[in-house]
Structure formats: C-alpha cells, structure tokens
C-alpha cells in the first residue's frame, strides 16, 4: 500500500511539474538585460559591444542558465567579429533550446563564415547515410524513441482485445523504431560525456601532433576561431582534440597571454 502511495505521488508530481519560478527576473537584472540589448543593437564602437557582452556575461555569471541569453551573447560576439565565442555561445543556446529556429539559423550562418570547413571522411558519410537518424538532434531522437515506445504499448494493449495481424506487425515496427532511436540517443549522450564538444576561440591555433611545440604541426596553417571539435584527452595544459574530418591533434589550453584557446561547450 505504501509503495502504491509512493508511486502515485511520483506520478502526480511528474504530471504537475513545479513551474519555473519567475523570481529570477529582478528589476536590476531586467534593467541590465535591456541595457545590454540596447548597447548591442546600437553599438558603433568595440567598447560598446564589449559593454553589452559584459552585461550579458554578468547575468550568466549570476547563475541564469537560459538559451536565449546565450543566443544574445553569441550575437554580440558575432558583431564584435569574434566568431569563436559566437559559435560557442550559439552552441550552448542550441543545447538549451533545441529546435529554436533563430538559434539554428545563426549557428548555420556562423558556421558558413568559418575560414575552415572540415569535411567528414567518406566512411563517415556512408555511415551518416545508413544511420541517417543519428544526425537528428539528440532531444528529437529521445522524444521520438519515447513516443514509439508508448505507441508500442498502446498497440499491445489494443491487441489484448482485437487480435489482428496488422496490430502485431505495427507493434513490432514501433518497438524496432524505439530501440533504434534509443540506442542512437544513448550513444550520443555517452559520446558527449566521454568526449565533450568544444570550440576553438583563439584567432589562430596551431595544432601539433603531440603535447609540445616540438612536434610537427597537423595542418599546413593554423586553425581559425570557430572550429568545432571534441576533446579526447587532457594532459598538462594541453588538450588532444578531434576534428570533424577525422584528424586529431594537440593544442594548448591557454595561449601565452593566458587567454583560453579552446572552450568546452
């Protein structure tokens, strides 16, 4: 009986989730947000844009985690010609607001403006074609997997009363779809945990074969800001990163002036 009561409580709690509190919006924060928007919109100088960035960043530093705030910050960095930080913040916004059209549009635009375009290797392209759903956003796959699973149970439920071959076939298809999407989603989350995505933010980054400048460089030219990579290993202030084209190499975590070269999303 107690277990039943507990389960009921959990189910009810999930049915009526606690609404997000609007207590985060204080007058001071609202004023700073508006000021940052105005500064970013009407900025004529770098100083003004830097002021807007500072305002947006201060709101984030206060613990506000919101995709649209990161989106605005990314826009401000883009106006400042800092493509690395722009793409970084748009990616953060995308992870918080998946499917937001404005974020997707700006991210695609920022990517098109990058100096280097890393083409995935042919084998990867074939895999992408075969497992095309793995390219969909992880949250989309997650929802689709759950929906397919729920449909599978509903079809099974109907099959208790109506025995039709079509129902059996449909339920098997739903289960297969749910499994394919669930495995794909799990792999994405696992990969994200193991190899966190990151963005190169330094204007130019030299990529070496090993964790020292004595090693050969991986590319003929330094990589420009905005390249999206995955972090494979961290060793003594050097990070081993994987590029979308299959290459990997080592970069410093910080440049000689103490500025970050690469930032995790």
């Amino acid at each position: 009986m107690k277990i039943f009561a507990l389960l009921s409580t959990i189910l009810l709690a999930s049915l009526f989730p606690v609404p997000i509190s609007a207590a985060d919006i204080t007058a001071d924060r609202a004023a700073r947000f508006q000021a940052a928007l105005t500064q970013a919109r009407e900025a004529q100088t770098r100083e003004a844009l830097e002021g807007a960035i500072q305002n947006f960043q201060s709101l984030i530093d206060e613990g506000i985690v919101n995709g649209h705030l990161y989106y605005n910050l990314g826009n401000a960095y883009y106006r400042l010609d800092d493509l690395g930080y722009a793409i970084l913040n748009w990616r953060r916004a995308q992870s918080l607001c998946p499917g937001d059209a404005d974020i997707e549009r700006n991210l695609a635009f920022g990517r098109s403006e990058r100096r280097e375009q890393f083409k995935p290797p042919d084998s990867q392209q074939v895999l992408n074609l075969l497992f095309f759903w793995h390219q969909w956003p992880a949250t989309t796959r997650y929802w689709l997997a759950l929906s397919a699973l729920a449909l599978f149970w509903c079809l099974l439920l109907t099959r208790l009363f109506v025995r039709k071959a079509l129902l059996t076939l449909s339920s098997i298809l739903c289960l297969a779809l749910a499994l394919a999407l669930a495995v794909s989603t799990f792999l994405s989350f696992h990969d994200r945990n193991q190899h966190p995505p990151a963005v190169l933010v330094a204007p130019q980054t030299h990529v070496y074969r090993g964790n020292s400048t004595t090693y050969e460089e991986v590319f003929t030219e330094p990589v420009h800001a905005g390249a999206e990579v995955k972090i494979i290993e961290n060793r003594d202030g050097w990070l081993r990163i994987a590029f979308p084209n299959g290459e990997n190499g080592w970069v410093r975590e910080m440049d000689p002036l103490g500025q970050p070269v690469i930032v995790e999303i």
Binding site: S14, L15, D24, N75, N106, L157, L160, A202, Q204, D255
Partner: protein, 627 residues
C-alpha cells in the same frame, strides 16, 4: 646476461608452471648518489598489461620508458615476460620509495606491484677546501629573455711548490683524477632553449688528459674514455664557507639559456664527487661529494601594465614592413595589404593586428581576418599577414603606417614599431555611391515583375528581447518526467490491463460458474411467474413454477441437470453441502407437494397456493444462504 637472469627468475618463481600472470618489480642499483639514476623494472611474467602503466609521482623525476617482450620454451612449456623499464632520477637524498601501484593485465585481472626503495647518498653543501657557487637568474623572467648560469668551482690551492698545480690527486701512473660534475640542466631543460649541447661541449675544448668530467660525456676518437674539460681558471683569495680565508683556484663554467614556455621550473643542484688533495693528511687526499642548492625560476607573461592596444602577443625584437597591390584604385576597390613581421622572438604565436582599431585606417573598410602568407616560415624569422582593405573615399592619398607593439624582454618594456606609409591613388567610382561599393558586396539588378525573390543569406537574426531570457532553464536530462509518462506508464498500464483481462477471462469463461452466478435471477423469474399464476388462480402453473424455481436453483448452483435431477440426488447434494436435515426435509417436502398438487383432481384455494409460495420463498432464502 639479461636473458639468463630472466630465465633464472622464471625458474626460481616457478611462474612458468602457473597459469596466472605474476608481477615483479625491482630497482637497480639499490644504492646511488644524488643526481645519479637507477632503473626501475616492472616484469609481467606469463601475462601482458592491458595498457602502458604510469608510475606514481614522488620525489624523483621519471625518465624515458623502454619496454620489451621475451618468450621462452622450457621443456616444451612456453613462457613469456613483458618488461617495462624506467630511468628514475631522485631529486633528494635519503631513502626514496616508489610506492606500490595497481596494474591491469589483458585478462582483466588487477594486480598490485610491490613498493621498491632505493638509498640515495646525500651530498654535503660544501667542504672547506672545495665548494661550488651557482649564480641563478631572477626568480621571474619573461619568455624570450636570456640569462646565463655561471658555475664557479672553488678548490683550495696546495701550499709550497704545488701552489700553482690543480689541487687534485694523480694515479700511480701520473694520470690526474679530477672531480666528476653532474649538471642536470646543462643540455637545456624543458621549457628553455639553449645552444646545441654538442657544440657547446666542443667549445669547452675537451681533452683526454686532465679536466673535469661533465655528465659522463664520452671522449676520445672512439668514445672509449670520458671527455675531460679543463675549465678556465683563475686564482683568488677569499673566505671559504667555514669563514677561513684561503687561496683558491676558481674554475668557471657558463651556460646561456632562453626561456621558451610559461611555467614554473626547478633546476636541480650541481654535484661534484671524487677526490681532492688535502695537505697534512695521510693519505694526502680526501673524498668529496658536494652539491649546490637547487633553485626555481618562474617564466611569466608580459605585464598587463602599459600594454599597448597594438600588442598581439609578440615577445622578442621585431620590425614591420608593408606591401600593397594595387596602388592605383577606385573607391571601394579591394587592396591586398601584406604586413611582414621580421625579427627574433615568438613569430609563430603573433596574432593578427586589428587594423580597424588603428585610427589611421578610418578612411578604409578593413576586413580584420587576414590570411597567413606563404612566407610564414619560423626558420626564415618572417611572418606575413595579408589583409583586404577598401578605400571609402577618394581623398585618401596613402595607406597609412601600421603600428605594431611587442614586448622587448631584454629591456623588459613594450616597444611599438611602424611601417612606412604607401602612396595610394584613389579615384571616385562612377555610377554608384561610394558607400554602396564598400558596404555592399553584390549590387543586385532591378527586379523584374513576377521574378521570385531570393534570400541574401547574409546577416544574423535579431536578439531575443523577452525577459523570459532571464528565467533559468533546466538543461535537458533523459531521466525526467517524459521517461515516466511515455516510457514507464504505458508499460504499467499494459501490465495492469493484461492482468485484469486474464483474470476476467478466467473468471467468466466457465459455463458452470456462469450458470451458478445466474441461478438467483432465474429463480426470481420463476417465483414471479408463480405469483402471477396464483393471481390468475392457475394451480397447475403455480405449482409447476414453484417446483421449477426450487429444483432449478439447486441444479444451477450445484451444476446438476435441471430436468433429470431426482429428489434423491437433491438430498445427497444438499447433505454433501452440510445442510441441516430440517432444510433438506422442508425442500423435499415442498417439491413433493408441488408434484402432487400439479396432478391433484381437487383444485387448491388461492390461500393454500400463497401459503405454499411463501414456504417456497423461505426455502429459497435458506438455500441462497447455504449454497
């Protein structure tokens, strides 16, 4: 020899006859002097490690790792050993222990190694007649900054006629025996650049007869002996470390280095060991083992104070030149502006200048995303950035000078250098406004009627202005309410329904049970028919219904055939259900009376029929409770 030792090891341990892997560690030699190295060996007998092990850190530096694999066939039984060997250099004297650590073999098993200790002989800071002084650099230096480490070796002069001789003993054959120096940083430590080590040693003019042995460097034509370095020497009179003034011979060794990478670095002390001549002593020499104290250096970034806006990370000494093509243009025509950086320093890490920030470039539209030129060759000490600029007005007469700042590590100040301005001829553009040319890359022709509009694809979307942006969102997590609602709840619902349907089908599928459940309703219907027959004074129908009501109820409840059931069967069944004799007797009597009344020649009165009907209802109530 190594193979024999390994073989013996296997025979002694009997590892070859056992199935599982065995881990053994050892250090050779077990006793060394400070600044010397020992080999730490990890043997995996009859097994392989899943991954290359890493040693725990301690008061020692871990050198190069070498590994090997050997297999043996002893009396038809194959065995093998995997070996990892590290060169370890202790950083302090005393008992140094390499603690036990865990390794994982390829069969998934985890093994713990044995801790191994080595005794390291500590050096004395000085001897009254022999000591060393090292001039360290400043505690904090900048990258590209050079400094010279000077090692002075003081050896007290001998008295009398030997006063001008080097105060070191000789062998019986007359060969001089000078101290052996171990200078760990001489080859250029990590994070610093120094001249080529071999060239440096050759410049010290090594000999084969007399001089200091340094870092066990080999000499002779075939490298069969140790090279000896007669360092420059001079005589001085000074106080020794014990406070007594003596005449000393000073041998000096200098090494110039340049800081290359940021960080904190510790330079180990220099050790000297062997014998020196000692007057008034028998034998007239003494063994010494002395060491200078270690020192630390921090390589820090250039100061932020007074850092010019045109500083982009250059540390060293550079000059800057510019080149532009074409130099005769219209307003808006793109000009390729090459900026060449030359000089000594960190050319590779100099970031591009932000030309649009330089006031002199105000009449130009500058694209601050230059290409790196082909001359980007660190060996040539040259770096080129190629910018695209467009003049925005025809009043421009020159490409202005470009300012570039760098940090000069020798003077420890920022310096700004300028390129020469380049004369430029700019004409007004015809037909189109100047601003249009500069700000718009593609001028589209006038749109025809019915022509489909195409997206420019340029620019970013507007900012999000709603204050909802200040409300924290919960990052997506797969273990949330959706999983409960769509993943678990339908499954639970299905399970509950399936259990219910199974139970329901089991409960309602048996016709006997269904008949028993519906017995009461049927009995009530027959009782109603009997009442109707009483009202119409139809005795035959009344008694027929009453008999059928009781008999049918009993037959339905007990699963008997209604038409073939006899009074004897009813008696046995009711007795089997533990009914009282009184109930059984009244039921049977009523049934017999009903049979008799149906065929009686005299018609009973309505009152008699009602009395019988009341009795039948009492019996039915009793049977309902009982069955």
């Amino acid at each position: 020899m190594r193979k024999i030792v390994t073989l013996c090891l296997m025979l002694l341990t009997g590892a070859a006859t056992l199935g599982g892997a065995e881990i053994r560690t050892k250090a050779e030699p077990e006793s060394i002097d400070l600044n010397d190295s020992f080999q730490y060996q990890l043997n995996i007998i009859n097994g392989k490690l899943a991954e290359t092990p890493s040693l725990p850190k301690g008061s020692y530096t871990i050198g190069r790792l070498s590994s090997g694999f050997q297999s043996y066939n002893l009396y038809g039984r194959e065995s093998f050993i995997q070996t990892y060997s590290w060169s370890i250099t202790p950083t302090q004297g005393g008992r140094i222990t390499i603690p036990a650590f865990q390794v994982k073999t390829d069969d998934g098993a985890t093994h713990k190694t044995r801790a191994v200790s080595v005794t390291v002989r500590s050096a004395q800071p000085w001897d009254p007649r022999f000591f060393m002084e090292l001039t360290p650099p400043k505690e904090t230096i900048y990258p590209q900054q050079t400094f010279t480490l000077t090692l002075n070796i003081y050896a007290a002069r001998m008295p009398g006629r030997m006063t001008s001789d080097d105060p070191f003993p000789k062998t019986q054959r007359g060969a001089p025996v000078w101290p052996t120096l171990t200078i760990p940083w001489l080859s250029g430590p990590k994070g610093f650049k120094a001249s080529d080590y071999n060239e440096y040693l050759n410049a010290l003019k090594p000999q084969t007869f007399k001089g200091f042995t340094i870092n066990n460097v080999s000499g002779g034509f075939f490298g069969q002996t140790k090279a000896k370095f007669p360092l420059t020497r001079k005589a001085i009179n000074r106080k020794g470390p014990d406070g007594v003034t003596r005449d000393y011979l000073v041998y000096t060794l200098s090494r110039t280095m340049m800081a290359a990478e940021f960080g904190s670095y510790t330079f180990p002390g220099v050790t000297a060991k062997n014998y020196i001549l000692y007057p008034d002593r028998d034998p007239p020499y003494k063994e010494i083992f002395v060491c200078t104290p270690p020192f630390s250096v921090r390589v820090i970034p250039p100061p932020e104070e007074n850092r010019p806006a045109t500083y982009t990370g250059g540390i060293g000494n550079f000059s800057i030149t510019t080149k532009a093509t074409p130099t005769k243009v219209n307003v808006g025509t793109p000009i390729s502006l090459e900026i060449h950086f030359q000089g000594r320093g960190n050319l590779a890490t100099i970031a591009p200048l932000v030309l649009s920030d330089q006031e002199a470039f105000a009449p130009f539209k500058v694209y601050d995303d230059p290409q790196v030129g082909d001359l980007n060759n660190p060996a040539a000490r040259k770096k080129v950035y190629i910018y695209k600029i467009r003049p925005t007005t025809d009043t421009v007469t020159e490409i202005p000078r470009v300012a570039f700042s760098f940090f000069e590590p020798v003077k420890e100040t920022y310096q700004t250098v300028y390129s020469e301005p380049i004369p430029l001829s700019v004409k007004k553009s015809e037909g189109v406004g100047d601003a249009t040319i500069v700000t718009q890359n593609n001028t589209s022709p006038r749109k025809k009627e019915g022509q489909e509009l195409k997206s420019t694809g340029r620019g970013i979307q507007a900012d999000h202005s709603s204050l909802n942006a200040l409300v924290s969102q919960t990052p997506f997590t797969p273990l949330g309410p959706p999983l409960i609602w769509l993943g678990l709840l339908p499954a639970l619902l299905y399970a509950a329904t399936a259990v219910f349907v199974t139970w329901h089908r089991k409960a309602h599928g048996d016709p006997l049970k269904k008949r028993a459940r519906e017995a009461g309703a049927r009995a009530r219907r027959k009782m109603a028919a009997a009442r109707k027959a009483i009202r119409s004074n139809d005795a035959a129908a009344c008694y027929s219904h009453l008999g059928a009501c009781l008999k049918g109820y009993i037959a339905d409840r007990l699963g008997l055939s209604e038409h073939g059931v006899t009074n004897a069967q009813i008696r046995d069944c009711l007795a089997g259900k533990d009914q009282s004799e009184e109930t059984i007797a009244s039921v049977l009597a009523l049934l017999e009376q009903c049979d008799a009344a149906r065929f009686s020649s005299t018609a009973p009165t309505a009152a008699a029929m009602q009395q019988e009907q009341a009795k039948a209802e009492q019996c039915l109530t009793a049977l309902r409770k009982a069955l």
